[in-house]
């Protein structure tokens, strides 16, 4: 039985490796097939650190984005599964640590989530989906714009701090943020 499973793992690994090699060459269908095929494996790795289904899904999406960002580091002469598992494990632990840090600083107040006078506004079932849309839109911004948005809007740095961290002038950052917001607005309207 164990031998049968191990044989299955080898066949699966070879298939994933071939799909990733094709994806690196620009084959979109293979890339899509690979990401879909890997999802249960990624979920299983993530579920070792996270319990809530919505949180698992957030981490899985983060792992997919990371795979996309580092896919040029995969060498098809090596097995694919350890490469994938390392990314899933690393991102999962990073997000767990980040959550623990924010939990240590923040106190949950259930009523605080009710922020709008219109009750319907507080029960938007698509909120998580839209957050993921936004994360993806930010990830696909041109480099300069993405960096400006990440430093100033997501990490909440001042313009001076962001200028120091990025090596760009405050004026240049302002222009990048303005362009990024314009791009995001157009992107999300079209989504």
């Amino acid at each position: 039985m164990a031998a049968e499973e191990s044989g299955h793992d080898v066949v699966r690994d070879e298939r994933w490796s071939r799909l990733m090699a094709a994806a690196q060459a620009g084959d979109r269908a293979c890339y899509e097939a690979l990401l879909r095929d890997c999802l249960p494996f990624i979920r299983a790795v993530v579920a070792r650190q996270h319990r809530r289904p919505d949180r698992i899904e957030d981490v899985v999406q983060d792992v997919l984005l990371t795979i996309h960002r580092v896919r040029h580091t995969y060498d098809p002469r090596r097995p694919f599964t350890p490469w994938l598992a390392a990314i899933a494990r690393r991102r999962s632990i990073d997000l767990l640590r980040r959550r623990m840090r924010s939990d240590a600083r923040e106190v949950a107040d259930e009523e605080a989530y009710e922020t709008f006078a219109d009750p319907a506004a507080n029960k938007d079932k698509d909120a998580a989906d839209r957050a993921a849309e936004l994360a993806l839109a930010v990830a696909t911004l041109p480099e300069g714009q993405r960096q400006a948005i990440e430093l100033v809007k997501l990490r909440e740095m001042s313009l001076e701090e962001a200028a120091q961290a990025s090596g760009k002038s405050a004026g240049s950052l302002k222009v990048s943020i303005h362009r990024a917001i314009k791009t995001l607005r157009a992107h999300l309207r079209g989504a």
Partner: protein
Amino acid sequence: MKVSGATERLIERLAADATPMRRLPPPAMRTVLWLLPVAALAAIGILVFSDLRTFLERARDPKLAIELAATLVTGIAGVLAAFELSLPDRSRLWALLPLPTLALWIASSGYSCYRHWIAFGPEGWEIGESSHCLAFILATGLPLGASLLLLLRRACPLSPIPVAAMGGLGVAGIAAFLLQFFHPFDVTFMDLGVHLVAVGLVVAVLSLLAKLPPRDAAARPGAR
């Protein structure tokens, strides 16, 4: 298994964005590609500015030869380990690669200091040419480190700080090796301490630089 709408859309978007890309060469090749121009520049600097005859005379001493070899191998091993560690699927044990020669480097330098101290007494504790050594290691190690960091960041390392620290150890080792060509005297204990502080500074600066947001190497078709 059910796939959420957001994950579904994310996969479609990522697939639509999958343009052809160049894979990173293997770490050993990346190490060689980085070392070649460094070696060429170092050779020019040594031929033009160093007192090669004095150096060759000093290098006949087996203890100095061991120290030189240990310093150089620590440098190369640190750079190779940094390139390995920058990839997601490589073992963290690569971080141990430069440690044996680092220990040998410190031990052989320490022994040279001890001999110097026995021969010269309290002068063995004096700050010899330490300030020049510090300046040399920083002036050589930091530009080398910056160029190495640019290459390391192309892998978008999942844990950038240990990768940068390992690269810092590598370039500091190489800088300390080159220093021997311009350092025609025995080191004092103080010199050794300053060498180690300089190595620590290079490692610390590169680790801090590693915190800067990474460039999206995958987005560039010519990524190496």
